[in-house]
Symmetry: C2
Subunit: 164 residues, 2 copies
Amino acid sequence: MSRLDSAIRRLQAQRACLDRAAALIEDIEGVVLELGLGNGRTFDHLRQRLPEREIYVFERHVAAHPACIPACDRLIVGDVRDGLAAARPCFAGRVALAHVDLASGDAASSERLFADIPALLVPLMRPGGVIVSERMLPGTPWQPLALPGEVPLGRYWLYRSLPG
Amino acid sequence: MSRLDSAIRRLQAQRACLDRAAALIEDIEGVVLELGLGNGRTFDHLRQRLPEREIYVFERHVAAHPACIPACDRLIVGDVRDGLAAARPCFAGRVALAHVDLASGDAASSERLFADIPALLVPLMRPGGVIVSERMLPGTPWQPLALPGEVPLGRYWLYRSLPG
């Protein structure tokens, strides 16, 4: 498999999981959190699939395509951990969908970042809300969900927040 | 169509056209030129599909994944026009496949670059050789080829060099 093949598979897996999550939260009220804007592709996908939802984006350095940058009152710039901690009073129990897409060039710092996310995200999720992540998020009270059929195991992760 | 959808389609079109070109040159001797290395994905795809071929890569600034950088004797760093002009004595009539993948952030300079490529590439192509390009390359004696069925018209361009 070439890197071109692998890029196609990765983006297809991302899209399949986001589409699945969008369907799963149909009857769950609440906002959407995009943790990591990157080039803005998945933000663009979410806002097209979920036009009625408020989508809040957390990003350290905004470097997306200009057409894919959210309005300033929906963009929380800075360390995602600080952003989530500060957003807790506002978003506690109100998040229907969180997409954790925090790729970074540095493997060790990505590892630490992903390790810190679950504890910050758990109190924000609404029961029945869905978490989509490019890495496993262990140590949460969330229910792991089956992936869409075309997505290889371990490529992406889907969880559902349970009633507390 | 979201930017995520569009990225998937673009990469799929690229792969379909490169695979088609690789099949078309099966009986055509010669080297492969990759004009523009970028992140190295299509170079990686070509070297996997065509392991027997010498692949020469032209790139202004090398910024690919380290695993996708060609050996130094297969990499021509600098302005692609200068590189092609300098390579003419070596490659004249010897190119079986050229992939023109010269995206740049600046639309006007990309336009000029693509406009200059055909005149430099024509003398290098072996009769029967194939040119794959992300833009139309007008003003050549090449035969435009039909795209693979799944590729929308105008998304990619395929040409065949005719016997002179």
